[in-house]
């Protein structure tokens, strides 16, 4: 028997988890802890071992090594009791093509003692208009939202969402993130996997960046982003030409000014963000009558950090 969870017990505890397929370690010594009531994201490129990891936590796969505790239970041996406390959203839906959203929610509602109201859930998921439409003719985003609604139906203590925003249009992504934020405010623990940075930046309390079955970085979004040295970023009212860029670099004291994302956006490489650097930039612009539209001296964005950590992998792909 496992020890019942006290107030400080984590919702999920994973230590040195391993899974081997055909001699290759797909999950290679993962350890992490998810605090009760928090949103935890496993971020990583396709093939990093994210789905394998959550499927072990969901009880679908057996591990080859390590320890796993989900709500104080071992998912490899727990039965319907644990499945009544954990809500799942799988990749690829897993819903009858001929079934209709309302009917499938009503079916799954009968699997719980105290389910959420299927009709309210349809409304919240933006599926009220297609409540009687066959699953196979729903759009990809609608299928995803139905999958999410199924995960929430049983008022889970822990929701495990595998790529919850994949295949959604921006509006659906935004409402999905809202729904997850609501869950969090209700005290539900959420574990999600994603390869979308916007998901974790906006939703996650803690992140593990996974690559090739290993955690390459972990922390809060801010901690991860601050892992790189702060750089000066700015946006001007117009774009600079090459001689101007070179001149600006010299004026700033030998750094390289290069284009950032968006027209007129630049960042400074090779120089620390100091007050005098900001002054030099402002002075150079003032001489030319150029307005600095935006100025930031924050650390690297999470995206930069993520790309740096998984760069090798991206190049391989």
């Amino acid at each position: 028997m496992t020890v019942a969870g006290g107030p400080s017990a984590p919702a999920v505890l994973v230590s040195d988890l391993r899974k081997v397929y055909a001699g290759r370690a797909v999950v290679d010594g993962l350890s992490f802890r998810i605090e009760t009531g928090s949103v935890f994201a496993i971020l990583g490129p396709n093939g990093a071992g994210k789905t394998t990891t959550v499927e072990i936590l969901e009880g679908y796969r057996h591990r080859d090594g390590g320890q796993v505790s989900v709500l104080g239970r071992d998912p490899a041996t727990a039965g319907a009791e644990l499945r009544g406390r954990v809500g799942l959203m799988l990749q690829g839906g897993g819903i009858y093509p001929q079934a209709r959203p309302r009917e499938i929610l009503r079916l799954y509602a009968r699997f719980y003692r105290h389910p959420r109201n299927p009709d309210e859930l349809l409304e919240q998921a933006g599926l009220a208009d297609v409540a009687r439409t066959r699953y196979k003719v729903l759009s990809g985003g609608q299928k995803q939202r139905l999958g999410l609604a199924l995960a929430l139906l049983g008022r889970p203590e822990l929701a495990i969402l595998d790529e919850p925003t994949a295949g959604m249009d921006p509006a659906a992504k935004a409402s999905t993130r809202e729904l997850i934020a609501t869950l969090r405010s209700e005290g539900t623990t959420v574990l999600l996997t994603t390869h979308e940075l916007a998901d974790v930046e906006q939703m996650a309390d803690a992140i593990a960046i996974v690559d090739r079955g290993r955690i390459v970085a972990a922390g809060t979004p801010a901690e991860l982003a601050s892992g790189a040295a702060p750089r000066l970023r700015f946006r001007l009212e117009r774009a600079l030409d090459a001689p101007e860029l070179a001149a600006l670099g010299r004026a700033l004291g030998g750094g390289t000014v290069r284009a950032d994302r968006g027209p007129g956006a630049y960042l400074v490489d090779g120089l620390d963000s100091t007050p005098s650097l900001v002054l030099a930039l402002a002075a150079w612009c003032a001489e030319r009558g150029l307005l600095v539209a935006e100025l930031r001296t924050t650390g690297a964005t999470l995206e930069e950090r993520y790309l740096a950590l998984t760069a090798e992998r991206v190049l391989d792909a």
Partner: protein, 253 residues
């Protein structure tokens, strides 16, 4: 600590799943064709055109037990295997496996749905035989034999159906189920008596579960005399082996 869990009692979840299985069966046109239309056409056509069917004493007396056997095959083998195989390939079984519905509950719901459909088939086909062809049970009819044939036939063909659905790809199951349906229609003593087949084929036909089921039905409904036990034992053997293999080899995804 079951009170911590929001999982419903297994019985409630199983009954809900049974309802879903029945609704989906009724919704899929291809299912209705093979479980309702096809047996009905064969029954009416060969009762009117008894080219292959012996008079025992009327063609319908031979035909109805055979078509009732075919109805069991269409539901517990063809329909069950194809639906389950596609559910497996769509990830439906996986998704249900992650819900509080126990796996045993899912299997029970599927078996329950098969039995409900088969009972409706019996009512429809027998009703048509009575209404159109004046069928009545023969002198030696035994309801116990009919029920045993019904149950063991469902076990044998349902076991075969789940064995295919749990191991083959969905497309493979579709082809195999339709192929077996044809084999059992031709060699199962459904329309054509097994005795009319050439020697080797007749010997093969006699060990198949289809002829065992139609023979048992014929004895049970009083169309034939004799001991039903050997046929029932053949069905039990097929049922035990197929169900055991299905349980051991079934892959849920």
């Amino acid at each position: 600590m079951p009170e911590l869990s929001n999982a419903a009692p297994a019985r409630q979840a199983t009954l809900a799943q049974l309802g879903m299985e029945l609704r989906l069966t009724a919704r899929r046109g291809e299912n209705l064709f093979v479980i309702v239309v096809l047996p009905l056409i064969l029954l009416i056509f060969f009762a009117l055109v008894p080219a292959l069917t012996p008079n025992t004493p009327k063609p319908i007396d031979f035909l109805l037990p055979g078509i009732l056997a075919l109805a069991v095959i269409s539901t517990s083998l063809v329909n069950l295997s194809i639906a389950t195989a596609f559910e497996r390939s769509y990830g439906v079984l996986k998704r249900l496996g992650g819900s509080p519905l126990p796996r045993a509950g899912l299997v029970a719901a599927k078996i329950g749905a098969v039995i409900v459909v088969e009972v409706l088939q019996v009512a429809l086909l027998t009703g048509v035989a009575v209404a159109l062809f004046g069928w009545a049970p023969g002198a030696g009819a035994s309801i116990a034999v009919v029920i045993a044939a019904f149950g063991l036939g469902t076990l044998a063909f349902g076991g075969l159906g789940l064995l295919m659905a749990g191991t083959l790809r969905a497309e493979g199951t579709l082809a195999a189920a339709n192929g077996l349906f044809l084999v059992f229609l031709l060699l199962g003593g459904v329309i054509l008596p097994v005795d009319h087949l050439p020697g080797l084929l007749a010997d093969l036909a006699r060990v198949l579960p289809a002829s065992a089921l139609s023979d048992a039905y014929r004895i049970g409904l009083g169309s034939a005399s004799g001991d039903a036990l050997p046929s029932l034992l053949v069905l039990l053997g097929w049922g035990a082996i197929a169900s055991l293999l299905a349980a051991r080899s079934f892959r849920w995804e």
